[in-house]
Symmetry: C2
Subunit: 380 residues, 2 copies
């Protein structure tokens, strides 16, 4: 089959979801896309967890917007590394996000106004609990694999510890067992850009008919610097001046766009501030900061991963300075300490953290082989 | 002598200074501090060039503010590495800065209003030209040394090419021959934080009685991340929570200060936004972006440094990821290509870019030895 079997559905949950903070959400929706067919014994489901700014729309053309190719379309689809001819792949927009699932923009049934600042702070563990309920509704007892990059990898990891019986394989890409001080610092700058934007109104900008665009724009600009490697930026932009073809290669002595890299960052910032919700940005960066499964074990990651039953595939990228290979090796070492079955690959790729979204041949060959072996094992 | 002989003076310049942009400044002041005594033949003068946020106040206690120790007080003074018992050290606040020299806050004599956005964009070369006029007024034909860290190192380098006969020794610390795309990107985020602050008023905030504090605060927060090494941040803050002693080591699930590193960044940002001028921040980061002496030689740094007559001391720090040792090695290689006398040291120090301001023992021993040799050579 060459055609992608895509379907989209909103799931509603009525029972309150108790959160790690102690707060709870009484009812909520999760928007879900699926690709491929669930087999008779529901054993071929793969859950894809998204990172900061992505959504349920993992693969194919968005049913509501034909311009929107899924964010991991190079990875998921018929004949792709995660082959939807074999696997039933699920993309879910997380709670608190802004692409249709219940989040700060949604109407709080208790007040009939958008949640805004009253939307509770969430953790990776909370997302996994919400996803587990989704799996229940979908009739999936155990995932063939839970998979994600960056923050998505944290969710995959957390699945393996929160629901060890429900995950056969855990695929953790370009991730980390916890943020470093520098990682948190970058998030803090991004959050402060939003929090200090006069259009933020303490998170209740919806009722003022504005959006804290300046803050979102800056947050995204900072983010982008950390997604690319230094070398990649040098390769892509260097010190090239932003000029019309034929214009002289001279400085213009102003604070407007002068270098190509400035134009790129401003463009990324503008685009992002046009579609992403600022409260969601705060929530998701905070979930990143808080993720630290070893915290309750006095920092011992091996203990935190001791109950894992899944087999692991861990992948990192050589030029990723946001979550460097060292961070992935910490995960691998903790798994090995527990004698967990783990494959690890460090891909020599120039594209920094963003590499997990790109179609590097060695990276995709590896994922393809891993899933092919899973598919075969299931058939035999 | 153990006492620092400090004097402070404002120099006035009447002749227009033609700038690299083509604009010019008709008249301007430069605030200067000196330490030690100029000898009879004016051969013992050392010019210290400052980086982004520093000033003329290099050493000792500020005459106007007894709390303000000079920014390089550990380096300059009686018995210090740059020993003011031998050398006459000059600190000068650059044109466009905000500590007394003419800058955007100053009154434009043509309009009787602060320059604001009409202050011309400056380059490192412009600063050096202004400093050369200062040297003329002070009766200094040739400096024993011109010295600086980071942006200050760029000025020292530029002195050696713009006025090769006037520099005996050039000391370039934690610097680079040009910014990388990533360096420019960080500056661009900082500038955009200021430019998009509603209190910026296109640079003319003075007349509105406000200061773009939000923007300055964010700019400084971003800056601080790049001044410290990842390891240094991990060492200083790790994932420690910001808590009163005895308070539980638990998350509070909010966007307020949660981690110690957040508290540090906010504090630095707040402090900075209370004393630094936003227009100056724009000007100085732009001067950093523009510095590229090899540009007019099709990128050939050896050609750009071909006319140098000074001897060089170049120092870098192992964990400086803003201007890494590789960038210093480019300078050294270009100098060697010209058979210039150059000493190079890469100091294994944990403190990132900030290391040039700290008193690492090996670093200071090296500078001390270099200046001691100069002092001896002069005596014999």
């Amino acid at each position: 089959m060459n055609e992608l079997h895509l379907s989209k559905k909103t799931y509603h949950f009525d029972a309150p979801l108790r959160l790690q903070s102690g707060a709870s959400i009484d009812q909520y929706n999760l928007v879900v896309e699926t690709y491929g067919q669930l087999n008779a014994n529901a054993s071929n489901a793969v859950l894809i967890c998204h990172a900061l700014n992505a959504s349920h729309h993992v693969a194919g053309i968005d049913l509501d917007n034909s311009n929107e190719l899924g964010w991991w379309d190079n990875m998921v689809g018929p004949g792709k590394p995660v082959d939807t001819n074999h696997f039933f792949v699920i993309g879910v927009n997380n709670l608190g996000s802004c692409f249709g699932s219940t989040g700060p923009m949604s109407i709080n049934p208790q007040t009939n106004e958008p949640y805004g600042a009253r939307f509770p702070v969430l953790t990776v563990e909370d997302w996994v609990n919400a996803q587990a309920r989704l799996a229940d509704q979908m009739g999936i007892r155990k995932f063939a694999a839970v998979m994600g990059g960056s923050l998505g990898g944290m969710q995959a990891m957390s699945w393996a510890t929160q629901y060890p019986e429900r995950v056969a394989h855990c695929v953790v890409i370009a991730s980390t067992p916890k943020l470093s001080a520098q990682n948190i610092a970058f998030n803090e700058v991004a959050r402060n850009a939003i929090l200090s934007d006069p259009d933020f109104y303490g998170g209740d900008y919806y009722k003022h008919g504005v959006v804290p665009k300046r803050g979102l724009r800056l947050a995204r600009m900072v983010g982008h610097i950390t997604y690319l490697s230094d070398d990649d930026m040098a390769e892509k932009f260097g010190r090239d001046l932003q000029r019309l073809a034929g214009a002289p290669d001279e400085y213009r002595f102003s604070f407007d766009v002068e270098f190509a890299v400035e134009s790129y960052l401003r463009h990324q910032g503008d685009k992002f501030s046009g579609y992403f919700d600022a409260n969601t940005y705060l929530l998701i960066t905070r979930a990143l900061d808080y993720f630290d499964p070893a915290k309750r074990y006095q920092g011992d990651l091996s203990q935190a991963l001791a109950n894992v039953r899944a087999k692991f595939l861990v992948i990192s990228f050589s030029t990723d300075w946001r979550f460097s290979p060292d961070r992935s090796r910490e995960i691998v070492q903790a798994l090995l300490n527990n004698k967990t079955d783990v494959s690890y690959a460090e891909i020599d790729a120039p594209h920094g953290h963003d590499a997990f979204l790109l179609d590097d041949e060695r990276y995709h060959r590896l994922v393809r082989a891993y899933f092919a072996t899973m598919a075969e094992a299931k058939c035999n």
